[in-house]
């Protein structure tokens, strides 16, 4: 059974997501003692040579790029199941880093066919309690899906779920109108589409667990940090300083980060950090 991480990355006019995926792949290669296979799914036919060494496979997005006219680039997220070259896959958002080894998670995650994060954490390692960006989830009693870190195995049942996710992604306006109240998003939302599919199929117990430990990740959106919102802006690096060590481990606000870290603010990742990560990967 092959295991690996899959990152879907498509550049936008504002952000070089391939660069972010490259940094994530480097951090996985340097921190994971067990599974450290990383594949990149992208429409970028010319991924820079300097990035290629960090990926085991570079996969062209199948069935064309459905996000070619979009700025948010999430229209291809239903294809994970079909793009992954692995029997067991962890899906990651590109704007993440791995500060610590989580290899031991794989054997735990494989106890289920699919396991999605529903309890992300703050940089202080508290479970996020804010529902600021989750009105639709609360109002429609949807499972609290965060696809930024999601495990699945290729099985018949999981394939069935992804078939429905395909249908919802490609008919999202009808589904959102039919199944969600007026809090429904006005654009396609990957997390909402996944949550809706899970709810329609009644797979909540199959996709989540009571465990508060894993799967999880640190979600750095400022207003999710269980801190008085009036003291913050969306640009969290202005408020919480980073100490990035030569070993690729780092502290935020002097809290050591141990979970996969979803930094969200793209400018946080500096070229110096990438240079540090490169020096830690033996190519």
């Amino acid at each position: 059974m092959s295991r690996g991480y899959l990152i879907l990355a498509q550049n936008t006019p504002d952000d070089d997501y391939i660069r972010l995926a490259y940094a994530l792949a480097l951090s996985i290669k340097s921190s994971q003692k067990g599974v450290n296979n990383v594949s990149l799914a992208t429409n970028e036919r010319t991924v820079s040579e300097k990035y290629k060494h960090a990926f085991d496979y570079i996969i062209d997005i199948p069935w064309g790029d459905l996000a070619s006219k979009s700025t948010w680039k999430i229209e291809n997220k239903w294809k994970y199941y079909y793009m992954s070259p692995y029997d067991e896959t962890i899906i990651l958002d590109a704007d993440m880093l791995f500060p610590e080894d989580i290899s031991h998670w794989w054997d735990v995650l494989s106890l289920k066919e699919i396991w999605i994060t529903d309890k992300p954490r703050t940089f202080r390692n508290e479970i996020i309690t804010s529902t600021k960006y989750r009105n639709t989830f609360v109002s429609n009693n949807l499972p609290n899906v965060y696809t930024a870190f999601m495990y699945f195995r290729k099985t018949e049942r999981v394939g069935e779920l992804f078939r429905l996710i395909d249908i919802i992604f490609n008919n999202w306006e009808e589904f959102f109108y039919e199944f969600l109240d007026e809090t429904r998003p006005k654009h396609l939302s990957g997390d909402v589409a996944y949550a809706l599919a899970i709810k329609i199929l009644g797979m909540e117990n199959e996709c989540f667990d009571k465990s508060e430990l894993l799967p999880s990740f640190v979600h750095m959106k400022s207003f999710l940090q269980n801190i008085d919102e009036t003291l913050l802006t969306e640009n969290w690096p202005l408020h919480f300083p980073t100490y990035f060590g030569t070993d690729g481990k780092f502290k935020i606000g002097n809290f050591q980060q141990v979970l996969p870290f979803h930094y969200h603010v793209k400018t946080w990742l500096t070229d110096d950090m990438i240079t540090t990560l490169e020096s830690n990967v033996k190519v």
Binding site: D228, F240, N254, F255
Partner: protein
């Protein structure tokens, strides 16, 4: 295994910490029945011997350890006596890191002298298997709200209260106090690093930083546990003591939250309590000594 309580008392020009410590030592004897060691300085001790008598002090404590004060250390603090009066006075607290080395016990309960021992709850610490225990959980006498904790800054680390620290002579406890010393000696640096605004040196902050450091700079699997109590009961300096009713039974005026000058009468029985209003506690130390002291020791005053 030897067990005991350690307290510090360094008087300033107005607050007789030694007398408070004597009263609390008698309360410790009544409720915990263990040895008590006092750490103090020569001037405080001289004042105590003149005002209370040396035999009385010796009857309160099993050991009295005199330490030299660091004359360079200046730490002024606002001491409030309810919301209506306050005074800025020196607060000498820079030597608490010495507690580890000074304690003559294998297991020590290191308590502030204003943490009044009115129960045997802390006896659960003995032989608990933990090398250090210190609380972040506190609760208030004014409402039924569940115990809670604070942060040293809005986005900062958890605030641990150095008011009560249990430690066993062990490497990790030695390291903890070593870090407390390091923070005290580099306080400006840590103040900037952890973004706390207080200019005054606080052992609570130094202890919080030490605990955070020894817990690996995160909250994942804390190696330093809390005390086996539901939290530290806090009477703030806006409160006052209404009466000492009898043994392990006091009534306080607890100021309502955000309502200056409005109080709730709160009766505290068989529960340890941290009295922040030093004037309030000073007003009742005589009564506490009278209640908790036996005839022999009272004859010495």
């Amino acid at each position: 295994m030897t067990r005991g309580v350690l307290m510090y008392a360094h008087n300033n020009s107005e607050i007789d910490y030694l007398k408070i410590a004597c009263a609390n030592a008698l309360m410790v004897k009544k409720n915990l029945d263990v040895g008590i060691t006092l750490v103090t300085d020569s001037k405080t001790l001289q004042w105590g011997e003149d005002s209370l008598s040396a035999p009385f002090i010796n009857s309160c404590f099993d050991n009295v350890i005199e330490v030299d004060k660091n004359k360079v250390f200046i730490n002024n603090r606002i001491f409030s006596d309810t919301s209506y009066t306050n005074k800025i006075l020196p607060f000498y607290n820079c030597n608490h890191w010495q507690a580890y080395a000074l304690s003559p016990y294998d297991e020590t309960l290191f308590i502030d002298c204003d943490y009044l021992i009115m129960s045997s709850a802390l006896a659960r610490c003995w032989d608990s298997g933990n090398d250090i225990m210190v609380n972040r959980t506190i609760y208030s006498p004014i409402d039924d709200a569940p115990p809670y904790s604070k942060l040293i800054d809005n986005s900062g680390i958890p605030l641990y209260w150095a008011t009560v620290v249990y430690f066993k002579k062990s490497l990790i406890a030695e390291n903890l106090f070593y870090v407390v010393r390091h923070v005290e000696e580099n306080y400006e640096y840590y103040k900037n690093l952890y973004c706390f605004s207080s200019g005054m040196f606080r052992n609570d902050y130094a202890m919080s930083i030490a605990v955070h450091t020894l817990n690996g700079y995160n909250n994942t699997l804390p190696v330093i546990r809390e005390l086996p109590i539901s939290g530290l009961l806090m009477s703030w300096d806006k409160d006052d003591i209404q009466n000492v009713n009898s043994i392990n039974d006091i009534t306080i005026y607890a100021e309502k939250k955000d309502k200056t000058g409005e109080y709730i009468l709160s009766r505290i029985k068989n529960t340890d309590i941290h009295i922040m209003n030093k004037w309030a506690i000073s007003r009742v130390t005589g009564r506490l000594i009278e209640l908790y002291g036996d005839d022999t020791c009272l004859e010495d005053i």
